[in-house]
Subunit: 358 residues, 2 copies
């Protein structure tokens, strides 16, 4: 055997980051292989925005295809440790997929409370496949979360929304991984902001590593909301949030204070982008970087592209790609596609190729 043995595969967030998590020997080390996601260069994007380096943290490569798995594994492990046999979440999609997957794996019942309309089909499909009981309520996400909080106070069901602090604790490991990969924190970190748990978690992760001297600095945080669902930009709850980016269609973020603290302590900003800019960034990521993400993920890139290039010169930037494009695959129908129907013969195909090459 040679010495240069490659490292073993990822073993999950609870093992890799145990010392940074609120877990004990009594916490079951469950895992679906979450975390240890790729961090890839985005050179086309760097050229467009004027930064020295742009990196994409591909959280869409988690087992349920979104970043939610990092926090869910901690929340479900703690729920099991505390004797729960059922979990509940209010969700616009990604959270329900993740909660249902971990609950299925661990033999817990899962309930998901979804706002009646405008759930991305791919996201609900996951919860159903994993055997969750889906309760569709005639109201908004904010209504659903409010009811979820109330009922879990009374009934023996663990709430696994990001108001559960174990969710935030798990999600902070993404920031730690970025530092572990790059060797230090970046200058700027961009991410989409909906319920604001993730920006809160990243800031916590960067801060803990900074205080432990694992990083020499902390990044400026750029949070990006959709213009139709931008309460943290306007400073006011949005009663009827509207955006194509379903994962961040939230009018009253649960982690409002955490997001504001991350913005202010980092010298960063929370900005809004129009849906058209989100879709443009979404298509650009797919067609120039080879990264097909959910529209909410593209919001962070849209925010970066709106930034003043002079402020980005020489900077190292990381954008979090929160979820996979397959979650909202029906959106692809909006793309002017190039599909051509041909008979099954050499001549027809050769002609079409020649035309495409010219």
């Amino acid at each position: 055997m040679t010495d240069a043995r490659p490292p073993a595969g990822p073993s999950g967030v609870l093992e890799r980051y145990a010392e940074w998590l609120p877990i004990s020997d009594a916490t079951p080390r469950i895992s679906l292989g979450e975390g240890s996601t790729p961090l890839v260069r985005a050179d086309a994007l760097a050229r467009r925005c004027g930064a020295a380096e742009v990196w994409l943290k591909l959280e869409m490569c988690n087992p349920t295809a979104s970043f939610k798995d990092r926090g869910m594994v901690v929340a479900v492990a703690k729920a099991i440790e505390q004797g729960a046999t059922a979990v509940l979440c209010a969700s616009t999609g990604n959270t329900s997929a993740s909660a249902a997957a971990y609950a299925a794996r661990c033999g817990l019942r899962a309930f998901v409370l979804v706002p009646g309309a405008k759930i991305a089909q791919g996201k609900l499909a996951q919860a159903i496949a994993h055997g969750a009981r889906v309760l569709a309520i005639d109201g908004s996400f904010d209504d659903a979360l409010c009811i979820a909080r109330e009922v879990t106070e009374e009934l023996p069901v663990a709430l696994v929304n990001s108001v559960n602090p174990y969710r935030i604790a798990g999600q902070k490991t993404a920031a730690m991984e970025i530092v572990d990969s790059l060797g230090d924190a970046p200058d700027l970190h961009c991410l989409p902001v909906g319920n604001a748990g993730n920006i809160t978690a990243y800031w916590q992760g960067f801060s803990e590593y900074f205080h432990a001297e694992r990083a020499s600095r902390r990044p400026r945080m750029l949070g990006v909301q959709a213009a139709g669902a931008a309460p943290l930009v306007s400073g006011k709850v949005v009663e009827q949030p509207e955006t194509v980016a379903t994962a961040i269609r939230i009018g009253n973020p649960a982690s409002w204070d955490g997001a504001v603290a991350a913005r202010d302590a980092s010298g960063g900003a929370i900005v809004a982008v129009e849906d058209a800019q989100i879709l443009e960034a979404w298509q650009l990521l797919a067609s120039e970087e080879g990264v097909f993400c959910e529209p909410a993920s593209a919001a962070s890139v849209a925010g970066l592209l709106n930034a003043d290039p002079s402020e980005l010169a020489g900077k190292q930037v990381v954008c979090t790609i929160t979820g996979h494009g397959l979650k909202d695959a029906e959106l692809v129908e909006q793309i002017d596609s190039d599909m051509i129907r041909l008979s099954a013969d050499y001549g027809a195909v050769a002609s079409a190729l020649m035309e495409g090459l010219s």
Copy 2:
């Protein structure tokens, strides 16, 4: 800083397995963060089939959500090294998604030749999002591959189907990762067999590691085909292959000889399973293991569940989960789901929860 620094994130197949790949310093080290996928325990499945241990290699966690990325990164890197500016593949879905993604990332044109009917929508959506030109031909997958071979002989376009040996070379790294994670090869490796490139590649990977003394043994290989598309079981080309598992709906596998060699040299088998068994295994993986995969992936598990339990006693088994369930999310409509519509108030939700808990 402490000493126990966690490992850096994955850097892609070309860097991690460079010494095992047909690449040189002149080969560009492109990456979308493919490879280094999770290997997770499947204890519920082990109990059902009678094996000592079952592990799932989650190739669905690759960037385009299937195992194809491992081989595609090598094929596209070599195409670039050789001066190509365009790539072409015939594909039932996963290959086109991967080819289109890497081509987009590297500034190459991508053409995908798809059989006219029965392409999983999620899979074609990816190729379109990545800007590939889709040519739908009025014929089967086998017709498409045949034409693809012909036209790429004549025109300046690189063929990136698995008849391209660089694809197989890249895909073999999954077997190497399994050995790197487990410390040795398993007793039995199960995987779905369609065009048969993957079983050929895994056997190559296990064999190279064995000969290099990275593993003390090689596994028995269990290849699983769908009953309606099982040419390697019957020994005869299937003119009209039919199965719910679109990714393995292939009647005349390009790597026929490689599959037979892997089966015979390993003392293994290639078996067929009915669509109903595939769907049962697919639902079982989602509802008991928390793994939502494409139906083709479930074929390998269906094959394992059909095996004689006495042959599995005491054995360590690995099943490859080739692609994400989001690729065929529309199949979830077949599941008897539990969705309940309620008004947005505490009482209605509490009642539904109480009923679900009882």
